[in-house]
Symmetry: C2
Subunit: 254 residues, 2 copies
């Protein structure tokens, strides 16, 4: 259960969720990608173009079965498979759920229990905020992939996010795997190298070796509803996400 | 009253709020910059490095006077001046204010009434979400500066944001000036040019002539608590924000 999460905006959560999910499927895994962001960008980027298609909103608000809301299946991935549940038009209402005690933070975890054994990896794309959707993701996740764009402000919000995480782990009495992934990496920029050194220093053992380089093809592919592997398989973007999937699948999951 | 707003993350709201505020001060205006994002990046980028410094949290939660929470003043700007109110450590609690009817959306507007005449421009930096802080900004603003990064997903969330805006304007019975600013513009990228054409087509008259080009100095300057004009005044970033301030100040405010 992998949450792609970071309260900082525009650090590449959706880009990472889309392309890591497909890369894992191309390695032969059965993968489910869930869109937890009311903006619905994971769904759009994987080909669910109709914003009115129901999805995680029905699961989290009305308790429907995830199996029923699945929309897109890619079976063209060897032994692997990639299924998608889009956000749905009403997902924003999760943030307004009345204070019913702790249960409202557990809805995703509960909804995943039935389907967990059908998949090797379940990946959730999270919104850029610290609200109830993100909390559902944290309670349901065994591992976090934390994209960090290669700049100062992203580094700043990471430290407060890690502090929040420690608090959640203590409260839940369990530890969650943390995998920090640098994104939009510019090899020639001193700033990018300084941010990497700072991450290696403050979070030893949690920073992935793979960094995702800046590559315009990654920005173009969502407009075709395709992952980088469908849009431009010969590209730095495809190489980096394939390498990241291999690194995470072979070495790092909790 | 200018809200720098967009629910999409990482499109350059904070970078724009910081540098537009200082550019207007350098043109001779008295400017107040308010941080409405619990992440507190506007404050950090303008030199308020202590995250525990109280600010907009005290104003919006406890009704304190904005004048009392002002922290940083730049008086080195000719006839202009730039004052800053940081977010403060408790601002996230605004999102959890109990449903007290419409008043909780009006707190910022009310707080600004006393100080409005002391400033030529008040600029608020908003968080990447559609919550109560953003709503306070919308009810208080006369103009919106809407940064849009030069890629497809930013274009996607703009159209849903503009729909939300129309609804707010109809409900409030007033119209708010809208100024779309392209950010992180790469002149050589076909994607950037296509996004610009699409914006010109769908939002005629609302797209600023000035686009802010990708310039690493803009990403570096917040780490020094400086605007681009203090960090590297000879740069594309400084040129573009100076030009944007001139364009907005001379032609466009409501
Ligand atoms: N490595 C990269 N190279 C080029 N463009 C990228 C890269 N990673 C992300 N982008 C582009 O940057 C923009 C922001 O990325 P993305 O939407 O994935 O971030 P996010 O963290 O999901 O944003 P949000 O906080 O709004 O959910 C997108 O348009 C995306 O296509
Ligand atoms: N024109 C630019 N050139 C280079 N880097 C830029 C430019 N504009 C913004 N950046 C960098 O991109 C990152 C995101 O920008 P910024 O934090 O201003 O966006 P934001 O919309 O305020 O994000 P959030 O949604 O998290 O509040 C920052 O590290 C910033 O320094
Ligand atoms: Mg996203
Ligand atoms: Mg910001």
């Amino acid at each position: 259960m992998i949450a792609v999460i970071n309260q900082k905006g525009g650090v590449g959560k959706t880009t990472t969720a889309i392309n890591l999910a497909h890369a894992l499927a191309l390695l032969g895994q059965r993968v489910l990608a869930l869109d937890l962001d009311p903006q619905g960008h994971l769904g759009i980027g994987l080909g669910v173009s109709d914003k009115n298609t129901p999805g995680m909103d029905e699961v989290l608000l009305n308790g429907k079965n995830i199996q029923q809301l699945m929309v897109v299946t890619r079976n063209d991935t060897g032994n692997g498979q990639l299924d998608v549940v889009p956000a749905g038009p009403d997902l924003v209402n999760v943030e307004h759920l009345a204070d019913g005690g702790t249960q409202r933070g557990m809805r995703l975890k509960n909804a995943l229990q039935d389907i967990a054994q059908s998949y090797d990896s379940v990946i959730f794309d999270c919104p850029p905020s610290a609200g109830l959707l993100g909390i559902n993701a944290l309670f349901a996740a065994s591992d976090l992939v934390i994209p960090v764009s290669s700049d100062f402000l992203a580094l700043q919000s990471l430290s407060s996010f890690m502090t929040t995480l420690q608090f959640v782990e203590k409260t839940c009495g369990r530890s969650i795997g943390k995998h920090i992934v640098m994104t939009r990496y510019h090899q020639q920029r001193r700033l990018a190298r300084e941010v990497r050194e700072s991450l290696q220093q403050h979070f030893p053992g949690q920073l992935t070796k793979t960094a995702i380089r800046e590559n315009v093809a990654l920005a173009e592919s969502p407009s075709y509803g395709e992952s980088i592997f469908e849009y431009q398989v010969v590209s730095h973007g495809a190489d980096d996400y394939r390498q990241l999937a291999t690194e995470l699948a072979t070495e790092r999951w909790h």
